[in-house]
Symmetry: C2
Subunit: 271 residues, 2 copies
């Protein structure tokens, strides 16, 4: 039996992590749970985020997952350490993989981070970066308009370019910046527009890609990679309205031909 990797997110942003997990680990089976009913987690209290996260985790643990990926920056910031301490399976978040990839990539130690207001004010990326190298120059910037824009399906074109360009203006003033972390799992969907605005000389790090890469490394290190030949059937669950969730899921996974033969999309009831 191909034990699944569990992925939790406050909504649809974590689907970019799921997409990368399927791309980089095509033999692995995924169970994704998006708490779309109670999304966004950003403005909620620490206690509420913890409570909701644990409810999602219990739903997945009952499905016998072999690894948990917390694909939500807010949930990672508030609950990752507790989850790591309490669960008997490997648990990884989205913040440290992005930080480590940026440290790997930068040539001059000048790193930018963009994310939601919650993530940026939590300072989680700055802490993760400076814990490893105190000499890094880190410039953080909240881009509160990006998530609503992406959730409305606006990923490119004139309006997207103008929002991205105006939002990133403070970072474009930083001549030395050579690496930029997309510190929100929604942002890989507008990566091209961000790259165009910030310039080709800045390397863009997607937390989603890098989290999938580290999931691969941690599964390999713990000898947990699936070695059989079964074609995985992925399961996607949403706690809220199914139509939007299904549309966004199909949009994100559109390049996988025949993908939806091997996927189920269902409503999850947590309590």
């Amino acid at each position: 039996m191909n034990q699944a990797i569990g992925v939790i997110d406050s909504g649809v942003g974590g689907l970019t992590v799921a997409h990368e997990l399927i791309r980089q680990l095509p033999k692995e089976r995924l169970i994704y749970l998006g708490d779309t009913q109670r999304c966004p987690y950003g403005p909620r209290s620490n206690e509420e985020v913890k409570k909701f996260t644990w409810e999602m985790v219990e739903f997945l643990v009952r499905k016998n997952i072999k690894m948990l990926v917390v694909a939500c920056n807010t949930a990672t910031a508030f609950t990752l350490n507790e989850l790591k301490d309490c669960l008997p399976i490997p648990v990884i978040g989205v913040i440290k993989p992005g930080a480590r990839a940026a440290i790997n990539e930068t040539k001059n130690n000048h790193i930018g981070v963009i994310g939601t207001e919650g993530t940026i004010s939590s300072n989680a990326y700055v802490t993760a970066l400076k814990d490893i190298n105190a000499d890094l120059h880190v410039q953080s910037l909240a881009c509160p308009l990006f998530v609503p824009m992406v959730e409305h399906g606006c990923l490119s074109g004139e309006y997207a370019e103008s929002v991205v360009s105006n939002s990133l203006f403070p970072l474009k003033q930083q001549q030395d910046l050579d690496t930029l972390i997309l510190g929100c799992t929604h942002y890989p969907l507008i990566k091209n527009t961000i790259q165009q605005t910030i310039g080709e000389n800045v390397s863009i790090i997607s937390s989603s890609k890098e989290t999938a890469r580290e999931a691969s490394a941690i599964l390999g290190f713990n000898d947990l990679l699936y070695k059989g030949d079964e074609t995985p059937i992925h399961q996607f669950y949403s706690t809220g309205e199914m139509e939007v969730f299904t549309r966004i899921t199909k949009g994100i996974f559109k390049e996988f031909i025949d993908y939806f033969d091997s996927v189920t999309i269902e409503k999850a009831v947590l309590r």
Copy 2:
């Protein structure tokens, strides 16, 4: 006390891994051991490589290392699983990190691998790549002239360009290739020449950089990162002739100003 990361190699190639470990994990202390006296390991038997590798490991284990990095492709291919099973500390090799980084990087699943004759004929990279994704197109090529050229200090210029260009000719015919793994720890020293030959459209993956990145991830996952403020003093050991080893070490680390205030370079006696 800042417990060190131990790095073993058959000679000087692993110094590129050590360099990346110090760059990406500047708080960590390193003990490097190069078996320059018995280098190269490539033409040796499986049993001999295992015996020599265990002698190096015992030297480092007596120095109470917290992690072992096997920075030699041959030693990784022959001993990694055994070392992982027997040692109570995390052990990582150079092959899987490069494979995972290439899978992360490629857009069209066409990956090239270059290495020594031993590494290429062992098929270790092809196996590591296909174990994760059986649908990858992998093109391997042995470049036996690169290591002796690098060890003679020839890293760029007309001769290096001609050797690299002639060696890579078969890969340059592969129109679809979008990612190339440097499957030998010497090759990052001629990365610029390789990039120039293979073209800017091919992403080059350095096993050395990616091994350091995964060492960072595995240390973080196991809560083994150093949290103190002591400046690390690195130790470099060679089993053979010290003059060449010292010259190459200084050459590889030359951009670290004041670096040699915090380094010792000594002869190691294994038996």
